[in-house]
């Protein structure tokens, strides 16, 4: 885990930065965005606020990390690391930026780092798991009608194909695509989360879509007809 941060550095008077007063410029942003207000409370050291933040973002972070690691248990570990890092670096968050973008930046770094570890370079099989009754977990689109044409394509089959195809994408393409589409970040925020330019994000998504069009050719053609 990366350590050295501006937020952790002592202030000139020798007191830790953690003890500094909450940033006042965030007041306006906090008034406009409840996420910012929540994060300001976390910065002030309020544990209940952190718990609230965890409950709000952890399902999305877990869903995101699950697409980069090989097991649900590992995804939980990575999610835990993400939130520990959020807490440790909470004073680095600037209220001017979207909290979700900042959270995903940390999550993306963790996921890409995870994939750099040689022992983690295994295929992500997101639907290899079983539920608590021992039944195989089947993929399902959140809103089948949004993806399937009225002609009646099997949304479950499409979801399985799509999951497999997304899991096979190169990590950066996968991250850019998921952040922009699944998590609804603007390209600018995706670029910030991934540490690259908007142009690079556009190129990554273009390549990802190009690959997916090829992999899902049958479904896409059917929808066109």
């Amino acid at each position: 885990m990366a350590i050295a941060t501006v937020g952790d550095a002592p202030s000139p008077d020798g007191t830790p930065a953690d003890a500094a007063a909450p940033p006042s410029p965030g007041a306006a942003a906090a008034a406009a965005d409840p996420d910012v207000a929540l994060m300001l409370r976390v910065q002030a050291g309020e544990e209940a606020a952190f718990q609230e933040l965890f409950r709000k973002f952890s399902p999305r972070v877990l869903g995101f990390t699950r697409r980069f690691v090989t097991s649900e248990a590992r995804a939980e570990e990575v999610t835990q690391d993400v939130f520990v890092q959020i807490y440790r670096f909470r004073h680095r968050y600037q209220p001017e930026s979207r909290l979700a973008a900042w959270v995903y930046k940390i999550a993306t770094n963790h996921c890409l780092n995870e994939l750099r570890r040689p022992e983690r370079r295994l295929r992500v099989d997101i639907w290899g798991g079983r539920d608590k009754d021992g039944e195989a977990i089947e993929p399902q689109l959140a809103d089948p009608q949004a993806a399937t044409p009225e002609e009646g394509v099997s949304s479950r089959e499409l979801a399985r194909l799509l999951d497999t195809a997304v899991a096979a994408l190169p990590p950066k393409q996968r991250a850019a695509l998921l952040l922009s589409r699944v998590d609804g970040l603007a390209y600018k925020d995706v670029a910030a989360a991934m540490g690259c330019t908007e142009g690079a994000v556009k190129a990554l998504i273009f390549r990802a879509v190009h690959t997916l069009k090829r992999e899902l050719k049958d479904f896409v053609e059917e929808e066109e007809e």
């Binding site: 350590i3 952790d8 550095a9 002592p10 020798g14 830790p16 953690d18 544990e47 952190f50 718990q51 965890f54 409950r55 952890s58 399902p59 999305r60 877990l62 869903g63 995101f64 699950r66 649900e72 995804a75 939980e76 999610t79 835990q80 939130f83 520990v84 807490y87 440790r88 399902q140 689109l141 959140a142 809103d143 089948p144 949004a146 993806a147 979801a159 799509l162 999951d163 997304v166 695509l177 998921l178 922009s180 589409r181 699944v182 998590d183 603007a186 390209y187 908007e198 556009k202 190129a203 998504i205 273009f206 879509v209 997916l212 069009k213 899902l216 479904f219 896409v220 929808e223 066109e224």
Partner: protein, 211 residues
């Protein structure tokens, strides 16, 4: 705009991420290009499907509790795993480093002052014991200059060169050679060679004498 360029813009157009100027240029192209309109429809279908993927997974209470425990542990440690490190101010670290440097310099100079000076140096006794060829009378005194590398040994190098070096300095211009004299296969022959003689041995000498 050409089709190749337009195709690169399609996903961004579906995502609503093109600037107005780029969007107008793409629209103009699409108005006259049926192939790109089809590609746009295909891109939109794929992106709709991706957007419909589940974004969330249920988080167990156990995971929440584990995370909170780690947070509390961080709090107990003062947040930083190396809590002592950032609390040392930069001036204090600089002062400490300066003091350490002064002490180190004093130790080195004191050791040098106490080291034996002058030509009486024991030349590589351990090498002489290990290597039979090094037991010859000429080698130990010759090997002195380059055989020891520690600061103390450097400080004790005699001011005057050994007689062999003074007599034939051109044989010893290469300092690394001095350190490895015992490894020279024909060292005795080199020593026996006079300044006016043609080189009798050694690779370079052999080549030159043959040439």
């Amino acid at each position: 705009m050409r089709c190749r360029r337009a195709e690169r813009e399609l996903a961004a157009a579906v995502d609503g991420q093109l600037d107005p100027r780029g969007r107008r240029a793409l629209d103009r192209h699409l108005a006259g290009c049926a192939a790109c309109r089809r590609e746009l429809a295909r891109s939109a279908a794929v992106l709709r499907a991706v957007a419909a993927l589940p974004t969330e997974l249920p988080v167990s209470l156990a995971l929440e509790q584990r995370t909170l425990r780690r947070i509390r542990a961080l709090e107990d440690e003062g947040v930083r795993p190396f809590a002592w490190w950032p609390r040392v101010s930069v001036p204090a670290m600089a002062l400490g480093a300066a003091l350490a440097a002064v002490v180190l310099v004093r130790v080195v100079t004191t050791e040098d002052a106490g080291a034996p000076r002058g030509p009486a140096v024991t030349p590589r006794p351990q090498v002489a014991a290990e290597t039979p060829r090094a037991a010859g009378p000429a080698k130990p005194s010759v090997a002195v200059a380059g055989s020891k590398r520690s600061p103390r040994a450097v400080a004790s190098v005699p001011k005057d060169p050994p007689p062999e070096l003074a007599a034939a300095p051109e044989l010893f211009v290469d300092l690394p050679m001095l350190r490895h004299l015992e490894k020279l296969e024909h060292f005795d022959a080199i020593l026996a060679t006079g300044l006016d003689d043609a080189p009798a041995n050694g690779d370079g000498g052999q080549d030159r004498s043959n040439g």
